[in-house]
C-alpha cells in the first residue's frame, strides 16, 4: 500500500518547503508527484552532493529543505555532509532509499545496503556521536517524519529518513 500522499502531507506539516534530489526507483512515487505538481518547486540535481549544496543555499536563505536520493548517492555525499552541512550547522532532511536491504538486490547495492545505518552512526566528532536517522515506518509515516525532524531541528545537523521498498514507489 503506497504512502506517498501521506508522506508528502507529513513533509508539509513539518514545515519542509524546499526539495531537491536525484531519483531512485524506490522513491519514484514522490518524484513523479514533484514532476507533475510544480508547486513543490523540486530541483532535479545532477549529483546528490550538488542537491545537498543547493539545499544548503536554500536553507541559509530561509527555507526548510529535504533532499532525495538513492543510498548509492551517500557515497557521493560524504564530503558534503561532513565539510558543509555538519561543520556549518546547515541542516537538511535526507530522504534516502534502502537498496540492498537484507542483502537482496543487484550487486552494486549490497555494500551500501549493508552499511546503511552505520554510515550515519560513523559520522562522529567529539561529543557528536553519529547523525540522526529513522527508518520510515509505513504504519506511522507522520510519526517517522516528525521524529527525524525533531532530531534535526534540535541538533542542527542533517538527518536521514531511510525508505525501504514498497512505501513511496507509487504516486498515490
Amino acid at each position: 500500500m503506497p504512502k506517498t500522499t501521506e508522506f508528502l502531507s507529513a513533509l508539509e506539516a513539518n514545515g519542509y518547503d524546499f526539495f531537491a534530489g536525484v531519483p531512485c526507483s524506490l522513491l519514484k512515487g514522490v518524484i513523479r508527484r514533484f514532476d507533475e505538481e510544480p508547486r513543490w518547486g523540486y530541483v532535479s540535481a545532477v549529483r546528490e552532493d550538488s542537491a545537498l549544496g543547493i539545499a544548503a543555499g536554500a536553507s541559509m536563505a530561509g527555507r526548510k529543505s529535504a533532499v532525495f536520493m538513492q543510498n548509492s548517492g551517500l557515497g557521493v555525499c560524504l564530503n558534503a555532509i561532513v565539510s558543509l552541512n555538519v561543520i556549518y550547522e546547515i541542516p537538511s532532511l535526507i530522504v534516502v532509499s534502502w537498496r540492498g536491504k537484507d542483502g537482496i538486490d543487484a550487486p552494486e547495492h549490497l555494500i551500501m545496503g549493508e552499511i546503511m545505518t552505520s554510515y550515519f552512526d560513523g559520522i562522529t566528532l567529539g561529543d557528536m556521536k553519529g547523525l540522526p536517522w529513522e527508518i520510515l515506518d509505513p504504519d506511522d509515516v507522520a510519526g517517522s517524519v516528525a521524529n527525524i525532524t525533531k532530531k534535526i531541528d534540535e541538533r542542527r545537523v542533517p538527518g536521514a529518513l531511510i525508505v525501504a521498498k514498497g512505501i513511496l514507489d507509487a504516486s498515490s
Binding site: 524546499f18 531537491a20 518547486g41 530541483v43 540535481a45 545532477v46 549529483r47 552532493d49 550538488s50 542537491a51 545537498l52 549544496g53 543547493i54 539545499a55 544548503a56 543555499g57 536554500a58 536553507s59 541559509m60 536563505a61 530561509g62 527555507r63 529543505s65 564530503n79 558534503a80 561532513v82 565539510s83 558543509l84 561543520i87 556549518y88 550547522e89 546547515i90
Partner: protein, 176 residues
C-alpha cells in the same frame, strides 16, 4: 571589492576564500572551507530562494572543473539573478600549485553550452572595467578571468568559525 555592494556572495574553498576574506570581509560573503566543487550549488540554492536578490559565486578553475555538471543546473534553471566569476589560474593554489587541466579547455564555452545566458573571458587588467557591464547582464552569467598562479605571501585564514559564517550570511540573505 567595492563592486560587490551587498549582494550575497558564495566564495569557493581554497586560496580564493582566504584572499576575498583578507581583501574585504563582509557579512554577505559565505566562505567555504571544504566541500570543494559545491560553491555554485550553494549559490543556486540562494538564488532560487531569493529571486529578488542578485547572487554572486566567486569560484576557481579547480572548483568549476570538479563540479562542472552543476553549470548545466544553473543553465537549465535559467537563474537570471546568478552571476559567476571564475578566477582561473590553471592551478590548485592551496595544495601546492599543481596544474589543473584548465589550460587545455575553455570553461566559459562549457558554461555557454550549458545554457548560461552570458559567458565571456577577460584579461585581469580589464576586469575592473568589465565588471559593471557584467553585472548588468541577465544570468546565469559567467565572467572568467585568466590570472597568474601563485599565492599572496603570508595570507591569513578566515578567522570566523563556520557556524558564525552561516549565521551572519543567513541573517544578511534573509534580511530585506
Amino acid at each position: 571589492m567595492a563592486a560587490l555592494d551587498d549582494r550575497p556572495t558564495v566564495v569557493c574553498n581554497g586560496m580564493i576564500g582566504r584572499e576575498v576574506f583578507t581583501a574585504r570581509d563582509r557579512k554577505e560573503s559565505f566562505y567555504m572551507i571544504g566541500s570543494m566543487g559545491l560553491g555554485l550549488s550553494i549559490g543556486i540554492g540562494v538564488a532560487l530562494t531569493q529571486p529578488d536578490k542578485e547572487v554572486l559565486c566567486i569560484d576557481g578553475d579547480g572548483n568549476v572543473l570538479m563540479g562542472s555538471g552543476v553549470l548545466a543546473s544553473a543553465g537549465a534553471l535559467g537563474l537570471k539573478n546568478l552571476h559567476h566569476v571564475v578566477l582561473d589560474n590553471e592551478a590548485h593554489g592551496s595544495t601546492g600549485g599543481q596544474k589543473t587541466i584548465a589550460s587545455t579547455i575553455r570553461l566559459e564555452k562549457i558554461a555557454a553550452a550549458s545554457g548560461y545566458a552570458y559567458a565571456e573571458r577577460v584579461e585581469p587588467e580589464n576586469l575592473a572595467a568589465a565588471l559593471p557591464g557584467f553585472f548588468e547582464q541577465a544570468g546565469p552569467a559567467m565572467l572568467l578571468v585568466k590570472v597568474e598562479p601563485g599565492n599572496v605571501k603570508g595570507i591569513g585564514r578566515v578567522t570566523h568559525t563556520p557556524i558564525e559564517i552561516t549565521e551572519r550570511f543567513s541573517t544578511a540573505v534573509k534580511g530585506s
